[in-house]
């Protein structure tokens, strides 16, 4: 079975700090797509960043970057210079091309940025 695990249910940091959210997964596939989605309080879920497993370079989007360790099956999200607007629920999600024909979501990490 293909599983996705976010081991940190909640995290809290001060504004301007850097925070890393962890996500691990289990698969025997070699190619898949990886995503981080953000769900702000009472607002719509949006895509933060995506990575394709065959690409060596880690994806970045402004203050958001990923650390993709394929051998370790780890896909963490780093938020630099955190802002109050980064407060949200964060989900990692995977699409395993050969396996379950759907996005597999992690349990979510609730991130709070404190002023």
């Amino acid at each position: 079975a293909q599983t996705v695990t976010q081991s940190q249910p909640e995290m809290s940091v001060q504004e301007a700090e850097t925070v890393t959210l962890s996500c691990t997964y289990d698969t025997s596939e070699s190619n898949y797509y990886l995503f981080w989605y953000k769900q702000p309080p009472s607002r719509q879920m949006i895509l933060v960043i995506r990575q394709e497993a065959y690409k060596q370079q880690n994806a970045t989007e402004n203050r958001f970057s990923v650390n993709f360790q394929k051998a370790a099956k780890s896909f963490s999200l780093k938020i630099s210079d955190s802002q109050l607007g980064d407060t949200a629920m964060y989900f990692c999600a995977f699409y395993f091309i050969q396996g379950a024909q759907k996005l597999v979501f992690g349990q979510g990490t609730r991130l709070t940025i404190n002023p």
Binding site: R43, Q44, M45, I46, K102, F105, Q107
Partner: protein
């Protein structure tokens, strides 16, 4: 900007009622999805549709059905609501690649079944 709207933000229904949740997207997306979001469980796929009148079961289809008569609209139906269907329901759409394209989500409907 892609816009995905859901008919209600909050809904309270009684056990045994038939419940309709509506989702509309305005960007001509091929694919639409219904998820259920519960604390500690992430998002679980209920049903998806890759074309008008086409539907496929997800992980947890029991107790639910769907309808997609028009490309922009995807409805989730709870045939006989039960208390264990109290949850947040999220609709999403994607352009062409069923799961490789970005999914765009609606604001969610928080359903309480009494």
């Amino acid at each position: 900007d892609v816009k995905v709207t859901q008919s209600s933000r909050y809904l309270v229904k009684r056990t045994g009622e038939k419940v309709f949740l509506e989702c509309v997207q305005d960007m001509d997306h091929e694919n639409m999805f219904w998820y259920r979001q519960d604390p500690g469980l992430g998002l679980r796929l209920i049903y998806f549709s890759y074309d008008v009148k086409m539907k496929e079961k997800g992980d947890i289809p029991e107790g639910y059905s769907v309808s997609r008569e028009k490309k922009e609209r995807f409805s989730l139906i709870l045939e006989s609501a039960s208390t264990n269907q109290t949850s947040m329901y999220l609709c999403a759409s994607s352009l062409t690649g069923l799961y490789t394209d970005t999914q765009y989500f609606g604001p969610g409907t928080r359903l309480t079944v009494l």
